[in-house]
Symmetry: C3
Subunit: 139 residues, 3 copies
């Protein structure tokens, strides 16, 4: 069994953003030399997500508005977590809605994807360096 590990670092200048990391995962897969297996991609921070969906700016706008509706940033004081001095409780909620990680099949040396699948890093509390992990195991 072969395994491969790589970290990606993000420094998003805004509080929230969606970044297409599919090319980074494809590069990691090539570097791994693995042709059959599973690829885990996860946020290493608990106020960020890795998820798979469409690379369409209108949809990303909709996701942002929808997440803000289901888990609003304001009023900051409505969250007990924010009494610790943080203002990011909403980011912990948004991350649960969008998920921590994806597991992708590796078949024939490629990400085994349907027609529109793309991997995104979802930042919900940016403006500082944060990381995602790529771990590939297989043969």
């Amino acid at each position: 069994m072969k395994s491969y590990r790589k970290e990606l670092t993000f420094n998003v200048p805004s509080r929230r953003a969606f970044i297409n990391i599919t090319p980074d995962v494809q590069t990691a897969l090539r570097d791994s030399g693995i042709t059959e297996g599973l690829c885990l991609v996860n946020a290493m921070h608990i106020t960020a997500s890795v998820f798979i969906n469409d690379d369409e700016p209108g949809l990303h706008h909709d996701y942002d508005a929808w997440l803000e509706h289901l888990a609003p940033h304001e009023p900051v004081s409505s969250y007990r977590h924010n009494r610790t001095g943080e203002d990011n409780a909403d980011a912990h909620m948004k991350r649960q809605l969008m998920g921590r990680e994806v597991v992708v099949a590796i078949s024939g040396g490629k990400l085994d994807f349907g027609p529109w699948e793309q991997i995104f890093y979802g930042e919900f509390d940016g403006r500082r360096p944060k990381r995602a992990l790529i771990k590939i195991i297989g043969a």
Copy 2:
């Protein structure tokens, strides 16, 4: 390390439906000859889910109503994604709530499940052929 890959195709006549695919995954597992490992089952489309829950029609009715409450289909014009000519922005939201994929342990040649676990394909934008992927790795 052994690996096995199989696609399932669905052609749901309605916009939304939940389909129990546990027997299909069990057949794939038998065909794989793998007895210890991990089994990934994921939607290959970004307006569909694979998830694990109960095979109880009342619950599926509740899920459908609850998802429609949290991410309503109408008004279609409320989603920027739908300006692309689609009317399925809500399906992209519903899929995030229910998840893209499950990873199931394989132990002793079986899906290593608790008492009520069943695997479902959740369709949120049907009326055309769509696929799910089964990928099993192990020994």
Copy 3:
């Protein structure tokens, strides 16, 4: 390829609770002797979650209030599932929001975690024995 399997059992005296199971998973990893691979941790029941987030009591209070807002327990009669004699339909919803499982990279014999990642069992319908599964594969 090596594999390892272990069940954890919980007997939560209240309906809902979050339990940090990171030490249990670390013990399982040590016992497995696996140093490179993937570790699946999943709830074996469909009214419970396994998820990764912060071990901060204020945040857990916020999660509980937020989940109750998005999928309220009462009125019990508003859910068709509860006509089966259950009163836990809301727990099936809460579990989908928080997720069934996590997959964690194993690198150098350790859970390959960011600075604040901790694994939790989320109980949404307690007061009876319930289980989570740890399955580790690798080398």
